[in-house]
Subunit: 254 residues, 4 copies
Amino acid sequence: MDQVTIQYLGNKPRVKNPILIEGLPGVGNVGKLAVEHLIEMLKAKKFAEIYSKDFPPQVFINTDGTVKLVNNEFYYWKAKKKNQRDLLLLTGDYQGLSAQGQYELVETILDVIEDLGVKEMYTLGGYGLGHEIDKPAVLFAVTKKTMVNDIRKLGAVFRKNEPGGGIIGASGLLLGLGQLRGINGVCFMGETPGYLVDPKSAKAVLKILSKITNVTVDLSQLERKAKEIEAIAQQLHEIETQAKDRPDELRYIG
Amino acid sequence: MDQVTIQYLGNKPRVKNPILIEGLPGVGNVGKLAVEHLIEMLKAKKFAEIYSKDFPPQVFINTDGTVKLVNNEFYYWKAKKKNQRDLLLLTGDYQGLSAQGQYELVETILDVIEDLGVKEMYTLGGYGLGHEIDKPAVLFAVTKKTMVNDIRKLGAVFRKNEPGGGIIGASGLLLGLGQLRGINGVCFMGETPGYLVDPKSAKAVLKILSKITNVTVDLSQLERKAKEIEAIAQQLHEIETQAKDRPDELRYIG
Amino acid sequence: MDQVTIQYLGNKPRVKNPILIEGLPGVGNVGKLAVEHLIEMLKAKKFAEIYSKDFPPQVFINTDGTVKLVNNEFYYWKAKKKNQRDLLLLTGDYQGLSAQGQYELVETILDVIEDLGVKEMYTLGGYGLGHEIDKPAVLFAVTKKTMVNDIRKLGAVFRKNEPGGGIIGASGLLLGLGQLRGINGVCFMGETPGYLVDPKSAKAVLKILSKITNVTVDLSQLERKAKEIEAIAQQLHEIETQAKDRPDELRYIG
Amino acid sequence: MDQVTIQYLGNKPRVKNPILIEGLPGVGNVGKLAVEHLIEMLKAKKFAEIYSKDFPPQVFINTDGTVKLVNNEFYYWKAKKKNQRDLLLLTGDYQGLSAQGQYELVETILDVIEDLGVKEMYTLGGYGLGHEIDKPAVLFAVTKKTMVNDIRKLGAVFRKNEPGGGIIGASGLLLGLGQLRGINGVCFMGETPGYLVDPKSAKAVLKILSKITNVTVDLSQLERKAKEIEAIAQQLHEIETQAKDRPDELRYIG
């Protein structure tokens, strides 16, 4: 096994001028939720798995009792209409644990998609605000200046110096290292409190994305999940409020 | 010295269709206790040592004053009866310190056992509950769905989504990376509080395992150790209870 | 992509007997502020970028919405007068995250500058005092004993055993590893509280440096920045003082 | 520069059947103090330097203002009498920062000494007790059982299961990895509180060692240093005692 290993599950998929959509774990798991939803709704087909020595040394246990080595997975979906394009979808259990591992993972991803003819990619993630947000905006960043206006028109937001810390992890690195290879891309970041997984933010990101791909999927499942999460957040908030109402001295004397 | 070095102590052992039993340090040291007990009771013979640059840079001091570089060790045992099979036993001082080191160690282990004809392996570990347990169950996970029913019949337990975090370390990785090479295996996880080494849990695991190997060993030594540990746990519990009974303000004013 | 990658933006610059001036992020960001100021004032031209797998896996977002993979950057400036020499200027977003990464980055930098004929280098950094300083002195260290007197005459200060911890990071490593290759150099360290970025210290360093390079640039921009930082430091100091004036018991009982 | 680089300062030294004495930084700096003292007293000659990418990225500043890249250094000393043997002495600024780095450093050291004909080595270190000790004993461990009695007769002490954690770092690894190459050795560990550098413990170690090497050096300098350290320890102890005498409530209310 190499540092990073790509394992095709059969023949490479025959795709034409495909675009990549990436969503790996991250803030609010926004990107992962979004891409997993797409994969499920589109019944996309898995065609490759990526293993890395910089993923945790861990297997998950499937519901049927079998183990599954943690990995990243590539799926594809063939366009159904004339205004659509073939899609490659990437999601996974983890990003690399170290800087080194992240760079090597992304280089392997770029090798795979270049080989399959990708010239355009969309990376999805969350933008952690640290506070509740009612209507999450979707921020973005691009590899080429000329793309900014087109993306803005779709409803995504560009705010100077936001996120101030740039983009950390695969969503940013795919654009940054892709840029050096001449692959263009956009990173969409859904605003999110960042405390819990955030299906609401994932939904906001997918809405924007569908205007590019002309692929529309039912989002009601994400809405249901979002309501569940809101209920949990509400409960956590109540517990916290009660704790604050207890006067301080009680903690020492009572 | 390579990243991971395998050093045979003489000729490779002549084993026929052997099965691997692995128990390295981990939660409650369940796996290590179990395999060390087997090695001792069966008088299994050491045939190889594994060194890794990702083990701690450390030697232990033997009771005769000599040093011993920390390692992992392979033993073998030849079947005595018709319904038994040759055994390879693996235990050791440490697992790799980093993710990288864990993957490389397990790849080397798989190289060794493939070379010796292993097609089946049993990895032993603990499942940390974080609370006391009277009769530890033995959970399991497998590499192939068809194995689940057979293992269940032996008295091992399958609970959906348990352990929720999957299996971390060599016991999981052997199955996960073995799966990619077509080697089948089962991981047995004895329930354990996980605070102290747990010979009781190790005993529970060995009882299940003996139904597969048809190799029965005297377990009274593990029972004795289990009683010693229970006495220590009882003492720790009393100290803790006394501390809780002291009113809080005493810590600040008294 | 190699561990560390150097990417020229076109032809290598035609420079004659150039000297290197390095300022990467560090204590008070003294070195980085100084070299960035030089680059801006001299309108130096970027000729190469360095990427490393040991930089954080991160892109920054430019003000025009495009991403920029974090890197180090080389600039050059051609001498305008007879008593000046061509300059190579190095600054960047980060130093390597690990010891390993730092050594490899500096080795690559040395490869680049040796190739361009550098025989002399000046590395700029801060010397963190942990307290306010009115007039920051500029300490130094050299690769060759015979250089000490010349540098002292320029107004830089040599105090035995200071900094006691030596020099950590690229500024020190360039001299240390350069020494082994026969490249001479001086490290200038501006005294700084080290709490905030310190343009005042950067200015002090540049004043000394200009006596070597005979290149004088307008420093008023650094002075303006220094005043802004002083105002912020003053505010922080007031907040801290107020907190100290609140009697201790209030924190527990009030 | 390789991961670990050995750099000879001229020709390799002509030594005959030499023994290695190692003392790198560690608990109480016992080994380093001892070997540095030997080097100074014997006026041993430096013949090689070792650099490693796993040392901190740091230079020290010599008293003459020049920088010195952190390293390990080899010295040699030629026997003066018939009952003496040539000595190789190894000390340095650091041990490797990571497990990996420690293994690689020690492998390089073994390559060098094997090349120079070393068949016997003495590694020096401290055994941290965590409490004051009046007359530090010197514990030991060996590579071959037959050596135990001879070493015991010199006044070194062997206590079963001490140190319980074995030996961590170069002193242990040299024996452990040396053992695999057939090089024999003894590790001497001077008891030390372990809080401060401990010249008294270093002296105890050197006394034992001199019975093996038949090389006696003046130890009065170590005695002087030991008295200085004892004075500092005494001061620290008084400060601590005073702090304990202040009633607890004062910290909260007074």
